[in-house]
């Protein structure tokens, strides 16, 4: 059984984000790491390595980056890292990323692909199901439980307003929700291995992938559009009355 995890390198949650000049660009502090949900996906793959002897691989797509995320995945225990590294992936459309990852996954017969529910930078949740569609695989999003059966997987997943259990024939793709697995902290040996690992690289031309055009950006802007806070003083009863008055008369939300 071969399990491939899609791992995205994203800016740290605390990384500073600044709109440059007249809103034409965005400057993101270069503190990067493995996407929160992808770390859960990696752990789920490692569980299958331990329970079913699965062979594990990680693929990423990036323009001149992505090594941090790969190293983290390897430090946790992923055996084969593969990076699609191509200048055309800089700011690329999700569909281009998905095509690149799908082509990379398809280099070898694969039984299960695990992506994150979403990336913390764009919170889009697009790439996983796109890869499933391109590869012709059935897809279950927001998995919180996973059991491998003979030729299929049993997936417990969150849906709006509840949970469901579904069975998908393999090969299939699932996306990892918090709760699917508790990511391990890499040990010394894993970390040493990750430092030395040779990350295999390929590019769009080698994979035969056509980029999808990028949507033009009109402008970037920062938040802080929220006006300064109005603090309400007084005893609880008075403060509550004043708050309700403001919510009705000023904010007009009641």
């Amino acid at each position: 059984m071969r399990v491939v995890v899609l791992v995205k390198e994203v800016p740290d949650l605390e990384a500073a984000v600044k709109v440059t000049g007249d809103g034409s660009g965005l400057e993101v502090e270069k503190r990067r790491g493995l996407n929160f949900f992808d770390e859960i996906a990696v752990e789920a793959a490692l569980k299958l390595k331990e329970s079913h002897g699965a062979v594990t691989a990680a693929v990423g797509a990036s323009a001149g980056a992505g090594v941090e995320a790969m190293r983290r995945a390897v430090a946790m225990g992923i055996e084969t890292p593969l990076l699609v590294d191509d200048p055309a992936l800089d700011g690329a459309d999700s569909l281009t990323i998905a095509r690149a990852l799908a082509a990379a996954v398809a280099l070898e017969p694969t039984d299960l692909v695990i992506a994150g529910k979403q990336a913390t930078d764009d919170e889009a949740g697009l790439v996983g199901p796109m890869v499933a569609e391109i590869l012709g695989m059935p897809c279950a999003t927001r998995a919180i439980g996973l059991e491998v059966e003979d030729g299929s997987v049993l997936v417990t997943r969150e849906i709006d307003g509840g949970e469901e259990v579904v069975r998908l024939p393999l090969p299939a793709l699932i996306t990892a929700e918090k709760g699917l697995a508790e990511p391990r902290v890499p040990g010394m040996a894993g970390t040493m291995k990750a430092m030395k690992v040779q990350i295999e690289r390929t590019d769009l031309a080698a994979l035969g992938v056509q980029a999808h055009p990028v949507l033009p950006v009109v402008a970037y802007r920062t938040v802080g559009q929220r006006p300064p806070v109005t603090m309400i003083e007084g005893e609880p009863a008075d403060a509550a009355a004043e708050l309700v008055r403001l919510l009705r008369q000023e904010a007009k939300v009641l």
Binding site: P138, V218, L254
Partner: protein, 355 residues
């Protein structure tokens, strides 16, 4: 054709509010740019199509039996056929679990752009301020947006712009919707006002019965949560408790206020990690993203991970004993006080004011 398609979605016997919001936004936009508004209903929703009378130029129903109950495999086939036939400029979805199963796969199938988490769509120069600033936006603001859009079109410009937060709301991007090519976009609830454009269109009906695949995904079991709790991302009002609520013995205070406001209750991760609340009701980066009209944070410190899940709320209220708590930087109204005292008082005032 240059129209807009709305993928309608129901909860039970009524369409989601997002469906009406998107239809209204599409009417306002097409009034300025030309083109038609097409409402698409499929499978179980087809029985509700009468509710769309007057709200769109056209209602397209997808009636293949495989579409009921919802399954992503069948829906992607059916929607791809309908969208391919109509060649709209953009297809608008309400954010939600179902959209996140269907929209990306449609984009891959059709070679289209897809954007999640959108909060504004407007004709260049028109529309309400994209970012967070629509505090108290009422029907008049919405109509104002529509007429401003009209003015932009009269100038000869009918460029569509679409905005969404990135990096957990630390920045917003506005993209141009290209005149050629197809865009699929999912909008957070409450992005538009359902009353922002007059209805009363004459609605044509059309049926598409393209063959669709049977789902490869077999449903084994489904467990639905309670109806009120289920609405967290949908609710117009969200009351969230943080560690300052101390323990479950006080959660009734949150529920009382939420009930008085007809809203839903959320929790911070601190309470979820402590095993005191369920993850399905966690607000924040590793939980749900909510975008209500009113968000009330009770005993929540305002860590960036929490803010990422609620920063597109229209109006934010924070109640916290610590006047320096970061949550106040993200709030419109702040009360420094003990939630155990302020919450009952607030619930009482809300009941008095709304009864």
């Amino acid at each position: 054709m240059n129209g807009l398609y709305i993928i309608c979605e129901a909860r039970g016997e009524e369409f989601r509010p997002a469906t009406y919001e998107l239809l209204a936004a599409a009417r306002a936009i097409t009034a300025a740019t030309g083109g038609e508004v097409t409402a698409v209903v499929a499978g179980p929703e087809v029985t509700l199509k009468a509710k769309l009378e007057g709200l769109a130029h056209r209602v397209v129903t997808l009636t293949a039996p495989e579409l009921t109950p919802f399954s992503a495999d069948s829906w992607v086939d059916a929607l791809a056929a309908a969208i391919g036939a109509g060649a709209p400029r953009a297809v608008l979805f309400g954010e939600g679990g179902r959209t996140r199963e269907v929209m990306p796969r449609l984009a891959a199938r059709l070679g289209a752009w897809a954007l999640s988490n959108c909060v504004d769509l407007r004709v260049n120069g028109g529309g309400a301020d994209a970012v967070g600033g629509s505090t108290g936006a009422g029907a008049t603001d919405g109509l104002g947006g529509a007429s401003a859009a009209g003015a932009a079109a009269a100038d000869g410009g009918s460029a569509l712009e679409i905005s969404r937060p990135v990096y957990g709301g630390k920045a917003y991007v506005t993209n141009l919707v290209p005149a050629d090519g197809l865009l699929l976009a999912a909008f957070r609830p409450h992005s538009f006002d359902a009353g922002m454009a007059p209805a009363g269109l004459s609605t044509a009906a059309e049926e598409v019965a393209a063959p669709v695949a049977v789902s490869r995904v077999e449903l084994v079991e489904r467990r639905e949560g309670g109806p009120r709790k289920a609405d967290l991302t949908e609710a117009a009002v969200v009351v969230t408790g943080g560690r300052g609520m101390k323990g479950p013995e006080n959660f009734g205070l949150l529920e009382d206020l939420a009930a008085a406001l007809e809203g839903a209750v959320g929790y911070s991760r601190a309470l979820v990690d402590a095993g005191l609340a369920e993850h399905a009701y966690q607000v924040g980066k590793s939980g749900k993203t909510v975008s209500p009209t009113l968000y009330i944070a009770c005993g929540v410190s305002g860590a960036i991970h929490h803010i990422m899940g609620m920063d597109t709320a229209k109006v934010v209220v924070a109640i916290n004993t610590d006047p320096t708590a970061p949550i106040f930087e993200y709030a419109d109204y702040g009360v420094v006080g003990d939630v155990l005292q302020v919450l009952p008082a607030l619930t009482e005032q809300v009941r008095a004011a709304t009864s």
